[in-house]
Symmetry: C2
Subunit: 239 residues, 2 copies
DNA sequence: ACCATAGAAATGTCAGACATTTAAATGGCG
DNA sequence: CGCCATTTAAATGTCTGACATTTCTATGGT
């Protein structure tokens, strides 16, 4: 796919070589890599070069290192939490660097959320409902800052996603929702708009409580419309 | 969120410090970072330590480096393609390392795909339809290997996602779909199952051609059911 | 005015040393 | 014999200094 007219750095080559070994299973989770000195000899490079390669892999959570006698670099078990963090970092930067319009981001976010609404309506537990109601209560506090309101909003929607009971979906979506928070934070939430949003959150929570997928979907649709209206107002107010 | 009982490596701290500067806008796309020697002095560490930090950031595509007189480390413009690649790497490893059941992965994938089907039905262009029909033709070749069939399947579904005309959605979903390919590759596609899948692909393409969102959705639902049946057969055949 | 060449600045790489952490081997003592 | 403190070894973490390589810039000659 990508030519290497100027062959990449040695550390990048070595990192790729080890990455390949992990991806196609020659190195399994928990396996210990050779020591830095051994790797340096194997690849015929110096130890600092090997270290740079290892740091690259560590940055992707592919390996973890331990110091001490039985230490070394180990193939990491990539947890949902770690994958999730990487997803957020990448998605946040992608959004902030590519002049994504509020509309496009909003559309993507709610399309994804509506995708898991039917599952959530089927599988939600009492614990999930409790989270939603707690956040609704938080959002109803009149002296809440805009940032705190947004943060609670993220938690609410993450609760909705988690209610779908599919960790793969949660990982994908929570990243998308959280990455949008900086964009959402630009909005000033008036008292009136908060009331509208909270009312829709209530409709969503009620729909889930009643296992009513279509009602949850329509509430999400209304919330999407309303959020995009707020974004439009923000833009026109600036002009 | 995460305690640091043993403070992290210096290189990790420095990487985080620079990452923060990029994320909250103190460093903008295209900006040049100070030279390695200057960074070393600023952070009171040695050059190799700074270099390890920079390699971490490079591994996340946050920066790119150039050699030569006007060279240095520059804040990278994170393109969709780069973000997409990272997404695939992470998602693939996550799926391979966490014993994700075929059912869960399948459910997530089709939930996401169905999320963009309505958008695709509204916005698909002739170019999108052409991609879908091309892949259907490829899949109809009787002497196609299972791997090639899967690859064409991925391209087909990616075309479907792209037809939604939302780059954020494309980035999120294409990663999820491609990450599932290794799981799909375990399936042996009999001639009969191929016929069924291709028929459903045709229904999807026709639905998009006719701007018929609900028909596309039901076809996707059937395809999900069928795919999960194939996965179940695979498991039972092993027992 | 143009081209070749030398210089400067930056990253890329290497070698060797020392510091620190950690677990295991060792030894003494009850 | 068994338990605890100590030593030892192996590994990563960090530093210093040097040299190689790449690439732009400025200088100089024709």
């Amino acid at each position: 796919m990508k030519n290497t007219p100027h062959p990449a750095d040695l550390s990048a080559q070595i990192a790729q070589s080890i990455r390949d070994a992990i991806v196609d299973g020659r190195l399994l989770v928990g396996d210990r890599l050779p020591s830095e000195a051994e790797l340096a000899e194997q690849f015929s490079v110096s130890r600092p070069t090997v270290r740079e390669a290892l740091k690259r892999l560590a940055a992707q959570s592919l390996i973890r290192t331990q110091r001490g006698a039985t230490g070394g670099a180990f193939v990491n078990h990539l947890s949902y939490a770690e994958a999730h963090n990487q997803q957020i970092t990448t998605a946040t930067l992608l959004l902030s660097m590519n002049a994504i319009s509020f509309d496009v981001a909003c559309e993507a976010r709610y399309a994804l959320e509506r995708a898991c609404a039917p599952l959530a309506a089927r599988r939600r537990t009492a614990a999930h409902l409790k989270i939603l109601h707690t956040e609704i209560a938080t959002q109803s506090q009149p002296d809440l800052s805009d940032e705190a309101f947004c943060a609670s909003d993220v938690t609410f929607h993450r609760g909705l996603v988690d209610a779908a009971g599919n960790p793969v979906l949660s990982y994908q979506l929570a990243g998308a929702v959280e990455a949008m928070q900086p964009l959402m934070n630009m909005i000033t939430f008036t008292a009136r708009s908060r009331v509208t949003i909270i009312a829709l959150h209530c409709r969503i929570a009620d729909a889930l409580e009643g296992f009513d997928a279509s009602s949850a979907d329509s509430a999400l649709y209304r919330l999407e419309e309303y959020t995009r209206d707020l974004g439009r107002d923000l833009l026109s107010a600036r002009a």
